[in-house]
């Protein structure tokens, strides 16, 4: 772009007042507002983790009291799951990209979309209030009767936060489903949709079907605490195990709410930096739907030792293996996509390849945990902690960072420093493995999770974890500085700096016009057509 020329109108410079942001109905601006809020929540959750990781470096209690420790790991779980992992990709990338990718000017219900952000913030405020008034010590799982009768902390406030923010997920899910069904550009058939859209679609279905169950469950806990309902409290004839069924009926599918959008990101980045169509497009697309569907019937694998029926456990075990099959299919197809590609190890691609490796370990250890006899030993140990961090951090957070780096030029029209972005990616990858791999071993050796003081035999593993976490923290800081500093650079980028396919790259500017496209959009090519010379023209 010529430096003397007035900058083109885009969604960022279309209004500079606070009001123009807070009352915007532009899906792109709402995406950026999610990004800002979510970064704050991520830092809060990360700080909590840093503090209790420090405590766990040695077996003895030295930095924190047991009560503070319990409140910190609870806060880490609640903030990271409900305010980062669940809304991260749909809230930021989904909002920003769904209309751009399908070639429309906004989501189907723009005002509802803004309302979703306010609901998310309201839920966040309740949770922050719970933290400021002294925290909550039930663990993010809110198990009864501890949460509903015995806990002496802010269960009601935090529960309300989770309850409220759930509606933001439901409404966003609804919005995306309608948008994807009704607002695709001419020629954008279902089988031409980017895989990111398929993943968002599958996620939205789970959000709409699953989240209300969590809302009801949390509400029952709040009622039991305030009004003394006997739903879960056995002294009143309630059943504490019923709570676990209700909770995991949502919270297992929620794992897919968190990871499926990440799968979508991985497919986009992988195709671009190997210049290949994703191998087995249909299989990758439908495996998202298969995971969403089967994912609803596996919740009891969290309850093999809970006193649920042995026969129920049998069914949940076998269904859990079945959900592994479509997941394996995705990994095989992504790997096959690289074959005979033209591979560039850019920062987003490094995150993506890191994702495949780490998610693979997370998935395979999931097979361990689905195995009934193994699960009995490993349930509620550090093995489980390591497993879900490989899926949630090694998988989801890496996918999230891949996506943020990949679409950063589109969002802000600026390129970050590629060298430092790569350094950040490598440091995070190594730091992550140092943090969480030792926990698999500590877990098989029998160290229970949520232990503030522990047997000294586990200390070497915990010490390694803490050292690894320091590296991971450094990697995240490098990444944050690299991205933020790019915003102040004068250098702008063209509309398609990575030569990617997709309407967001080829038909919209960087940053896009407030109305997304200045010319009518008609789709005449298949998804991921990297032989199309038009994508290599402008950069």
């Amino acid at each position: 772009m010529d430096a003397t020329e007035q900058p083109k109108l885009n969604y960022l410079n279309a209004g500079n007042t606070v009001k123009s942001w807070l009352f915007t109905v532009d899906h792109k601006r709402i995406g950026i507002m999610y990004l800002a809020a979510m970064t704050v929540f991520f830092l809060i959750g990360g700080t909590a983790a840093g503090l209790f990781r420090l405590e766990l470096a040695t077996a003895a209690p030295d930095v924190l009291s047991n009560d503070i420790y319990n409140r910190l790991f609870t806060m880490h779980g609640i903030v990271m799951i409900f305010f980062f992992l669940i809304p991260a990709v749909p809230g930021v990338l989904g909002n920003f990209l769904v209309p751009l990718m399908i070639g429309t000017k906004d989501v189907a219900f723009p005002r509802l979309n803004l309302a979703s952000w306010y609901i998310y913030m309201a839920g966040g405020m309740f949770t922050l209030a719970a933290i400021l008034f002294g925290g909550i010590d039930t663990g993010w799982t809110f198990y009864t009767p501890y949460s509903s009768v015995y806990a002496d902390s802010n269960v009601i406030l935090a529960g309300t936060g989770v309850f409220v923010t759930g509606f933001s997920s439901i409404l966003t899910g609804l919005n995306f489903i309608v948008t994807i069904h009704k607002m695709r550009a001419p020629g954008m058939t279902w089988m031409r949709l980017p895989l990111f859209i398929w993943a968002q679609y599958a996620t939205s279905i789970i959000n709409v079907l699953g989240t209300p169950v969590l809302a009801i469950t949390i509400l029952l806990v709040v009622f039991e605490r305030t009004l003394g309902f006997g739903i879960f409290d056995p002294t009143k004839g309630g059943d504490p195990v019923l709570y676990q069924h209700l909770f995991w009926f949502y919270s297992h599918p929620a794992v897919y709410i968190m990871i499926l959008p990440g799968f979508g990101v991985i497919s986009e980045v992988l195709a671009c930096f190997s210049r290949k169509r994703i191998y087995g497009y249909e299989f990758v697309a439908f495996s998202s739907l298969a995971i969403a569907a089967i994912g609803f019937f596996v919740w009891g694998h969290h309850m093999f030792t809970s006193s649920q029926s042995e026969y129920a456990a049998l069914i949940f075990s076998i269904l859990t293996y079945l959900v592994g099959i479509p997941t394996a299919i995705k990994i095989f197809n992504w790997t096959a996509t690289l074959y005979k590609g033209s591979i560039e190890l850019s920062a987003p691609m490094l995150y993506t390849l890191g994702f495949i490796g780490l998610f693979l370990v997370g998935g395979l250890t999931g097979i361990f945990l689905a195995t009934m006899a193994i699960n009995v030993h490993l349930h509620d140990t550090y093995f489980v902690v390591a497993h879900f961090h490989y899926v949630m951090v090694g998988g989801m957070m890496m996918a999230w960072l891949a996506g943020i780096h990949f679409w950063w030029p589109k969002m802000f029209g600026k390129l970050y420093n590629e060298f430092w972005a790569r350094v950040g990616a490598v440091v995070i990858f190594l730091g992550f493995n140092f943090t969480f791999f030792p926990q698999f071993i500590a877990g098989y050796l029998g160290m229970p999770r949520r232990y503030h003081v522990y047997d000294v035999a586990y200390q070497p593993f915990q010490m390694l974890s803490t050292v690894g976490a320091v590296f991971m923290g450094i990697g995240l800081i490098i990444c944050l500085i690299t991205l933020v500093s790019s915003l102040f650079s004068k250098k702008t980028c063209g509309k398609n700096p990575f030569h990617a396919t997709g309407l967001e790259w080829n038909n919209a500017d960087s940053p896009p016009d407030p109305h997304n496209f200045t010319e009518p959009v008609v789709v005449d090519v298949e998804a991921y057509d990297y032989t199309d010379e038009r994508i290599y023209e402008d950069s």
Binding site: N66, N70, D137, G139, Y143, P145, Y146, Y150, A151, P234, T235, G238, P240, R277, T305, S306, S307, S317, I318, Y321, I325, A328, F332, N333, A336, L338, Y339, K340, G341, S342, I343, L345, L353, I356, G357, L360, V361, I367, F368, A370, T371, M372, A373, I374, V376, H377, D380, T381, I441, Y444, L445, G446, P448, H452, V453, Y454, D455, A457, Y530, T531
Partner: protein, 321 residues
């Protein structure tokens, strides 16, 4: 210094069975991880972009990868499923000759009662070579009884009785952890499992003093005697009289037998059933009798209920001989 351990000491034959399955899973995971990561690294080097003008030939999708990619994992997970399920079911069904010990969890301790009434807190003494069955409940929140060296764990849930069993194969001292988060001092809730020789166990059971310290609340009276007293005054006097026309069934000597229920079902009269009937009498109604039993929850405490069970058990053993 000891070499770095990657699995806990195995204190029973079951533990080494679990470890074999675990080793199989590790082997499978290593194969998949090396294969996938190997491919990724190989492709990333071999097909590195040489110039910005590179335009790779599109690959044709084939179904072979999808078929192999579903069928091979499917076969593998089915093998693992049956293997894991078989071990799990073996581990759930206690042998008939197991010693029955009652465990009650409360924030933040384990209260243990042995068959002769002897009690201990947190620790558990058991004889080597004899299967041990734990019948467990909680007084407050959910806890979980975890014996890592035995690869066994079971949640301890308020309002119901859960059970687990294990066979201590060698003498030694092992960990007992609480695995389910139960509040402020969760990480301190635990003790030691002390597997001792048969004679030492007998001697320990009948000893009142250990190392000059009084054992916590040793109950020296025979629970069957106290149990009979409660049975006679509370149960047999008005209802389970054993005479024709009684309002409750004659069950004084029927412990361990199958009982017929209204609606055609049968149920085993065991610890759980007896205790549950005292707490929730209307859950199972004996065939031919009215649903008239009053609940003893709050009338008899946990210890007294256990004494009644001990008595019924001994009375049935006498009847069987």
């Amino acid at each position: 210094m000891k070499y770095v351990q990657t699995s806990p000491t195995d204190a029973s034959t079951y533990a080494s069975d679990v470890d074999s399955l675990y080793a199989f899973l590790i082997g499978m995971s290593v194969v998949f991880t090396v294969a996938i990561c190997g491919c990724i690294i190989y492709f990333a080097i071999k097909y590195k972009r040489q110039s910005d003008a590179d335009r790779p030939e599109p690959t044709k999708d084939g179904n072979l990868l999808e078929i192999l990619g579903s069928v091979i994992p499917f076969i593998l997970v089915m093998i693992i499923f049956f293997w894991g399920a078989k071990l799990y079911f073996d581990a759930r069904i206690p042998p008939k000759d197991a010693i029955e010990i009652l465990v009650t969890g409360k924030q933040w301790m384990w209260k243990v009662q042995h068959p002769n009434g002897k009690r201990e807190i947190n620790d558990l003494h058991v004889p080597v070579g004899v299967p041990i069955k734990l019948t467990m409940t909680s007084e407050d929140v959910i806890h979980s009884y975890y014996l890592p060296e035995f690869r066994k764990k079971m949640d301890v849930v308020p309002g119901k009785y859960t059970q687990m069993w294990f066979l201590p194969a060698k003498e030694g001292i092992f960990n007992i952890f609480c695995a389910e988060y139960c509040g402020t001092e969760h990480s301190l809730m635990g003790g030691k499992l002390k597997v001792v020789g048969q004679e030492e166990y007998e001697a320990w059971l009948n000893r009142r003093w250990v190392d000059g310290q009084q054992m916590a609340a040793v109950d020296s009276s025979d629970p069957t005697v106290a149990g009979k007293q409660i049975w006679d005054t509370n149960c047999a006097a008005a209802c389970h009289t054993g005479r024709p026309g009684a309002i409750g069934p004659n069950i004084e000597h029927k412990f361990g037998s199958m009982r017929k229920l209204e609606g055609g079902d049968e149920i085993l009269m065991d610890d759980y059933y007896v205790k549950n009937s005292m707490n929730n009498p209307n859950e199972h109604i004996a065939l031919g009798y009215p649903a008239a039993m009053s609940a003893f929850k709050g009338v008899l405490n946990n210890t007294q209920m256990n004494q009644v069970i001990a008595y019924l058990k001994s009375a049935s053993e006498v009847a069987a001989e």
